[in-house]
């Protein structure tokens, strides 16, 4: 047992106090990324429908913003980070839906980021839209949505059993830094004092000057150094002989069913094509798509997925019989550009599909825009019949809401587009 000597006790206390004072600095508040996931109770299920008829919307819901949610115990969600190599597979990527396995591949040429940083860095230079971060969005029994944070994009639907489920989209990152400044104007007296402080350092030059006068041989050292860098400049001309010619042609326009940035199989047909995975990941920064490499193959046949895992030598076949009644909505979000300056426009496309095996109804898509995105009036479009609502959120932007009229059969889906101006 260590017992401090009575005469040394004040010294220990002084050292401990100084250590605490020197190590404690400002900025003690934790970053906003650590505030996560307030648990809200599930809304009571709707009245069960024994006939399995498509659910019908009952009440026009209301969005309750996250700031209006009453205080409740919080839990911290720790998500793994992106891998360091291009072949690293990440589960629960911070950019994606945490319920969907993510296969984000990290570009080895991407800009430098400090260790321990997840996702895009630095965060203050990017705009984010999509996903369901911090508080988990849930739908109450009165059809109001709680836990909808800024930047969230979610969709909710009703199953034939009367359950209301919420699905988050992927997260879209747009490079769009914005600047401001802090100014201070002082009188001339303050400025002169400032210049005098600079002049106090000048006596150091006088000391250095005396030293150089004594060491006169240093002048001779500098002379040959200047001669080393003199080189003739005739070699470079011969290298220009092998210059080739390239004829780069770029399309000047596009005429078709979809916009150029929407030319993906997942947007056109609602099904992922592995050959487009790289381009899709560039637009969505997510990995909802499945992967297919030389080692593992996943085949889907009708209602029963067949997973065939084989190596170079022995092969094993696993067959899973999935129980019927698996409603699921998938929401994919892409942006027309990856970077934008203030004043420019960005178009967003939401592709939603019923990827389950039973009909779903009361499909509702909600997008809570970040404060720096300004919705362009009358720019919302939807390929299905529905109602469109907007509501001002806590960031003086808008919460956009689409309520699809007709139930979605398995395999059906739709497209929503809207336009925003970067503030």
């Amino acid at each position: 047992m260590i017992v401090a000597h009575p005469t040394r006790l004040p010294r220990f206390l002084l050292l401990a106090g100084l250590t605490i004072v020197l190590c404690s600095c400002r900025g003690l508040t934790p970053g906003p990324q650590r505030m996560v996931a307030q648990q809200q109770p599930f809304p009571p299920p709707m009245q069960a429908n024994s006939t399995h008829a498509p659910p019908i919307r009952q009440v026009t819901p209301q969005v309750v913003l996250a700031s209006a949610v009453e205080a409740a115990p919080q839990r911290v969600a720790i998500r793994p980070q992106h891998g360091a190599t291009s072949s690293h597979i990440v589960q629960n990527c911070p950019h994606c839906n945490p319920r969907i396995p993510c296969l984000v591949t990290v570009d080895p040429d991407e800009p430098w980021a400090p260790s321990g940083t997840d996702g895009r860095w630095p965060h203050d230079e990017y705009l984010y839209d999509g996903g369901d971060r911090n508080l988990e969005a849930r739908v109450r029994a009165d059809w109001s949505v709680v836990g909808l944070d800024m930047e969230d994009t979610v969709g909710h639907f009703d199953t034939v059993e009367g359950e209301t489920r919420v699905t988050a989209s992927n997260r879209v990152c747009i490079y769009a830094p914005r600047f401001a400044s802090v100014r201070k104007v002082v009188s001339m007296a303050g400025h002169e004092q400032h210049i005098f402080a600079t002049g106090v350092d000048s006596p150091e030059k006088l000391i250095l000057h005396e030293d150089t006068q004594i060491a006169t041989t240093s002048i001779q050292r500098h002379a040959p150094r200047g001669q080393r860098v003199a080189r003739p400049a005739g070699i470079f001309r011969e290298r220009l002989r092998t210059v080739g010619m390239e004829n780069v042609r770029k399309p000047s326009g596009y005429t078709g069913d979809l916009l150029p940035y929407e030319n993906f199989q997942v947007i056109r047909h609602g099904q992922f094509d592995q050959s487009e995975k790289a381009r899709l990941a560039e637009r969505t920064e997510a990995a909802v798509a499945w992967t297919h490499d030389l080692a593992v193959q996943v085949l889907l046949s009708g209602q029963t997925p067949l997973i065939d895992t084989h190596d170079l030598g022995p092969q094993q076949v696993y067959t899973f019989q999935r129980m019927p009644g698996r409603p699921e909505l998938r929401v994919v979000k892409i942006a027309s550009v990856a970077n934008a300056r203030p004043g420019e426009f960005v178009e967003f496309t939401l592709r939603f599909d019923n990827v389950g095996d039973e009909v779903i109804g009361n499909v509702t898509l909600i997008d809570n825009l970040t404060p720096r995105l300004e919705y362009v009036p009358e720019s919302a479009e939807c390929s299905l019949s529905g109602d469109f609502f907007s509501q001002v959120n806590e960031g003086s932007s808008l919460v956009l809401r689409w309520e699809i009229h007709d139930p979605l059969q398995p395999g059906d889906g739709g497209i929503i587009r809207f336009r925003c101006k970067v503030r």
Binding site: P32, G270, E381, F388
Partner: protein, 261 residues
């Protein structure tokens, strides 16, 4: 007691590690030019040798030039983009100031942090340093201005459109620390100082030009282009996989002014 002291010290160190690394703990805005940027270079990030594009804008009619080799570059009207080293101090010369014929102002710019744009978008996203007519009036009337430009936190950004002709600023009191105020609002990236300094009797010496550090000239890009015309959305029935998605023909696609409203 010793164990309690160790636990307290460990807790304090843990709190320090959790702090954001961008805050300037030991610097203040009234330090001599170059000291804050030099301190940034010691933080271990890739700042050394990086030419950060800086967009310099002056009021229409004025011209700006950057110190280069004991002189100034040819003046450019209204705006220019220069790639500046982090930690160095660049002396500018602004001539042709409206309402002040024959006067010249010699502000300085110190880049203390960099941006990380996509590789092909370096010049499209420079650090903007905009001089207003009011600031020139203040400088020529004997005032000294210090302005810290910072990257705004997008989650706490003001929900108002950005005016490309005038950079938004917050005024602090003369006794306040302008760098700490910028730390609270975002991530400081550059410091502009102006007023009360003209070349002395020795002319453009190294002390006045801060050694005239090297810089890279970039072509200035215009402001945000006008919005492109928004064409109609044509979602047609797909002929290959019509069983996967039933989209309505063009005429039946509802717009915001129709049934989808």
């Amino acid at each position: 007691m010793l164990l309690a002291c160790c636990l307290a010290a460990a807790l304090a160190c843990t709190i320090v590690r959790a702090q954001p690394p961008q805050v300037h703990h030991f610097d203040w805005g009234d330090q001599p030019p170059g000291m804050i940027g030099k301190a940034q270079l010691k933080r271990g990030r890739p700042l050394q040798g990086y030419f950060q594009p800086v967009e310099i804008k002056v009021p229409p009619g004025a011209a700006v030039s950057v110190a280069s080799a004991r002189s100034f570059s040819p003046p450019r009207d209204h705006a220019m983009i220069a790639g500046m080293l982090i930690g160095e101090v660049y002396r500018l010369k602004v001539t042709g100031i409206p309402n002040h014929p024959g006067h010249e102002v010699f502000p300085t710019i110190e880049v203390i942090d960099r941006l990380y744009p996509p590789a092909d978008q370096l010049v499209r996203f420079p650090i903007p340093v905009q001089f207003s007519q009011q600031e020139f009036d203040l400088a020529l009337s004997g005032k000294y201005l210090v302005r810290v430009i910072y990257v705004e936190d997008p989650e706490n950004a003001l929900p108002r459109p950005e005016d490309p002709a005038a950079q938004r600023y917050f005024e602090v009191r003369p006794e306040a620390d302008v760098l700490r105020a910028a730390d609270d609002l975002g991530r400081p990236v550059a410091i502009m100082r102006m007023g009360g300094r003209v070349p002395g009797s020795e002319g453009l010496n190294d002390e006045f030009l801060f050694g005239a550090p090297p810089w890279v000239s970039h072509e200035h890009m215009p402001d945000a282009p006008p919005p492109a015309p928004h064409g109609e959305v044509e979602l047609q029935r797909d002929s290959v996989r019509r069983d996967t998605l039933r989209l309505r023909p063009t005429a039946a696609v509802p717009g915001i002014g129709e049934s989808i409203r």
